[in-house]
Symmetry: C3
Subunit: 315 residues, 3 copies
């Protein structure tokens, strides 16, 4: 089901075919091996310039992309938008055109506005990679999530057909949820979304998911449960319950975890609020694959850079 | 007219001869080619240590120097003076002597005080490069500006003899203007300065320029018009008109642009305040070489690093 | 007296034997030569990942470790904890486990809490290097101090036997003092501590030091005087005299310096408060080895990285 990769940008997962997703995941499996070598470095992107343009802070995602680029031997520039000309009123378009004038090969963009990477892609010569845009998508996170599931629940055809995956928490404003949903449904998984009705409105059913507001329905029979991070900074808004109430209704406690199938994977995109989304023992327990997700994220990002670079050469 | 390069520092353009400027520009032309290669990297500065000591923020200039050094295979350290011992009351001299104790080969200094790089050069063993000092000079910007003009208006002898170049805006406090003026006049260009009389006082005529306060006189017959960035942060000072008034008197509108010769180049050091110094259509139009300036800046900075490094070896 | 290195972490000097310290110092001497070469780079750590996890700011120490790693050809990531998930309430343990999931080989930790690196070492797979923890230890600083002394006052057996070293200033809260004391006493030096009784309590005698509150007793007959930096930010606390009073009682003036033996070394970990701990002429005079300390710090840090890396391979 693997297909040739010929996209110039990686903007979202919504527009990828199952074949394209599988091509990315297969490449990531190769790169995962590089991280286990004595010398964790390959020359694939030597002499290429990668710019981390993070208009919204995210140390973890930035470091993961930075290391991915360094291990591919690229030159990496971190562009901190807090001290940059963006603060002097320059437009994002002008910033990116200036970076491209430096012969940048890749622009990795994190931005608080949904659609910002798509906007760039309309005029950019370089490869644009979406590292998270508003509440829209976070494609490398979606890919690392399906990569991690596939490693533990392999199917001969490389898909996730028939797997039951529950995503629990603040779905409405989550770019991780959206990218997960696109990748999972494209690969044939059955997705259940769970959270309070203010944060998991019924219209998500149109994305091909089941919606429930009872945690038990999300846990029973699931092959994977993915708990999203509660954005504590959004506390106090009308739509958002307080943390304690949220944890008591939707957090994974040891008592609730007894409902899980013994081989059900527990996932979380990090950083965890221990005792809120998950009790500590479960985050660190033998069903948890949370740290594997981090490892796989680096492999997935190396694969993204590698495949986009190849596309530029028409290969 | 090329001469051998044997300076240890690059502090200003005022003290460079025409031959030295041409040597730098010729080297930059070679390095411009590196940016267009598949592998944008040469080993010239392998094992050398370049320190970006930016006591005043400038993301664009820092990135351009950082990439120049990386493409020459140097090790680069970004020293952010905002979180550094400079805040603990250490003197600039002590900071630099400490960096030199780490065997730094190059100190690239951005500083709000005019003359700071010259002060360093009095005791520094390493190569000091002025990346902008107060309202004094910004030599790499001046070089990239004359490089860009020379690419479009070549003369057999490598100079800019007889070319009419107008610089428009806040001349009085502009380090870009000063470096441009020195480089342009050294290479034989005829320079006109234009802006309100508070910002373009008559004494600039002593630098060999014509001074006018009417934009039409700066536009008519010019081969190049270079619009300087309005520092909005200086708004409200007694000498500075408000932005709207400035734009209406000295901004390049489409209607005013009709006065320009069809092959007149439109330049701006960036970042542009669209609709203030220039209307957007002109910034992006076919007379604009603004993005080429950025590309050329990287080539010029590679040439500076390369030639200074060679000087150290007595070559 | 050299012994084989087989520690996985470098957490403190207290637990090192004299033989281990000498092994580190001997390795550092080799690496000091790399800094004087035309190409300051060796391939020893190629493909290794070094993370500078600085939860407390320290530009100088961070740059020294960063350059040490780059000159060993490692990939280096600077993790600025001010903008990171640590601010989102993630625990230090989770942060480090996430970094290790990226196959980090080295975590260089600076932290305001004493004992933080030891805490990490309880679960970390990677090599943990203490780059300063609270008022506990700063082992690379202690090593560079004894390295510097040993270069100037060599003994055939590589120790500092019989040398008289005085440490003057705020001992109580100083991690530098503690690491110095452990390294110096282990190598056989006779250590005198000097400062006001609030900052140099008598219980330091239990560490094998002489304690005095009269500067003259610290200066007379000393082979080395090491002035610690006054933390001006601690001014105003009840235990701390004002700066002027401190300087007049414990600062090294030219008049006091006449008591020093002509070959007595003057040291300071930097950055210096000129006119407080030391008069400027003495900081820059021919007895001062303050800038050598900086140079030696880089060599020592290369040696630490190199030896820990070798230990991982069981060599």
């Amino acid at each position: 089901m693997t297909t040739t990769w010929n996209r110039h940008h990686l903007l979202d997962l919504q527009s990828l075919s199952a074949g394209e997703i599988i091509t990315l995941l297969d490449a990531a499996r190769e790169f995962k091996g590089v991280g286990q070598r004595e010398i964790k470095k390959v020359p694939a992107l030597r002499g290429k310039t990668v710019i981390n343009l993070f208009v919204e802070n995210s140390t973890r995602t930035r470091i993961s992309f930075e290391l991915a680029a360094l291990r591919l031997s690229a030159d990496v520039i971190n562009f901190d938008a807090n001290v940059s000309s963006l603060k002097k009123g320059e437009t994002l378009k002008d910033t990116v055109r200036n970076l491209e004038a430096l012969n940048a090969d890749f622009i990795i963009l994190r931005h608080s506005a949904s659609g910002a990477p798509h906007f760039l892609a309309r005029f950019a010569r370089s490869h644009v990679i979406n590292a998270g845009d508003g509440s829209h998508e976070h494609p490398s996170q979606g890919l690392l999530d399906v990569f991690t599931i596939r490693e533990h629940k392999p199917r001969p055809d490389g898909t996730l057909k028939g797997l039951k995956v529950s995503i629990i928490g603040d779905i409405l404003f989550s770019r991780v949820a959206r990218s997960d949903i696109w990748a999972l449904t494209r690969l044939g998984a059955e997705v259940t979304l769970c959270g309070p009705s203010t944060l998991v409105p019924a219209h998500f059913e149109r994305m091909g998911c089941r919606v429930t507001h009872r945690i038990e329905e999300a846990l029973d029979g699931a092959d994977v449960v993915n708990f999203l991070r509660i954005q504590q900074e959004r506390q106090g808004s009308a739509m958002f319950p307080n943390i304690g109430e949220f944890a008591s209704l939707f957090g994974l406690t040891q008592s609730r975890a007894k409902r899980l199938k013994p081989d059900c994977l527990i996932m979380h995109p990090g950083p965890i609020n221990r005792g809120v989304e998950l009790e500590s023992e479960l985050a660190d327990g033998n069903q948890s694959v949370i740290l594997e997700q981090v490892t796989n994220g680096l492999a997935v990002r190396m694969a993204i850079l590698y495949l986009l670079n190849g596309a530029a050469n028409g290969s």
